[in-house]
């Protein structure tokens, strides 16, 4: 199953991990994107996320479809948080289960790369002593 969700509240790694767990799977791979306290020597206070929600949900479902075309995975969860995300808290949790570990490990990397490059979500980095900046994914 695919679990795709955009939420305005704290993300729970445990809940999302449980969501994808399956008796037929021996592996779960997870990626958690968290707010970092610094960027190029500037102190980051928090991040602020906004999304084009219906299109973002579509794009996240498309990522799931693409993964299923490439790897044999059982369940996929992609959760993105919007609004203010304080330092150390999660903005994104991706979790995938697969019978064997190779699939979910490869798929989680693809998932995070593809979410970053295809899903209409934006983050503004709010600094302690400089003007906030809208970011651009480049990595």
């Amino acid at each position: 199953m695919d679990f795709v969700k955009i939420v305005n509240s704290k993300l729970s790694v445990e809940e999302i991990s449980n969501l994808v767990s399956s008796p037929s799977c021996g592996a779960i791979s997870l990626f958690v994107g968290t707010t970092r306290d610094n960027f190029e020597n500037k102190q980051v206070v928090h991040l602020e996320y906004e999304a084009y929600v219906p299109m973002a949900e579509k794009a996240m479902k498309k990522v799931c479809e693409d993964i299923r075309g490439k790897w044999q995975v059982e369940h996929i969860a992609i959760y993105h948080r919007l609004g203010i995300v304080p330092v150390m808290e999660a903005s994104l949790v991706i979790a995938l289960s697969s019978p064997h570990r190779a699939e979910s490990l490869q798929a989680v990397q693809y998932a995070i790369d593809t979410v970053k490059s295809s899903v209409p979500i934006w983050k503004k980095e709010v600094y302690a002593s400089e003007q906030a900046e809208w970011k651009e994914n480049t990595e």
Binding site: Y52, V119, W122
Partner: protein, 88 residues
């Protein structure tokens, strides 16, 4: 004979684009058949998006549009102004 009437579309703004034009959405009267570049020009001019013009793409009804394509719009279509993505 092509029926190029004017249609009213909904325009959505996000992130930097939202901040520049000062609103989340607006209406725009536009020919129903046009080019991607014309549509982008119209939106950029009308909503003061010149500073980020070269860093925008448009999504039409929740699909990314490709530059240099023909665009056919109907009343109520949704065009979103998409600055560089930075989710994750």
């Amino acid at each position: 004979m092509a029926d190029i009437s004017a249609v009213e579309i909904q325009v959505l703004f996000f992130a930097k684009a939202r901040e520049l034009c000062g609103k989340k959405e607006s209406q725009l009267l536009i020919p129903s058949a046009t080019s991607y570049d014309n549509l982008l020009d119209e939106i950029v001019q009308k909503f003061s998006l010149e500073p980020i013009r070269d860093n925008l793409i448009l999504a039409i009804n929740e699909e990314y549009a490709t530059s240099e394509s023909e665009v056919h719009l109907k009343e109520g279509d949704q065009v979103a102004v998409i600055p560089p993505l930075s989710g994750g």
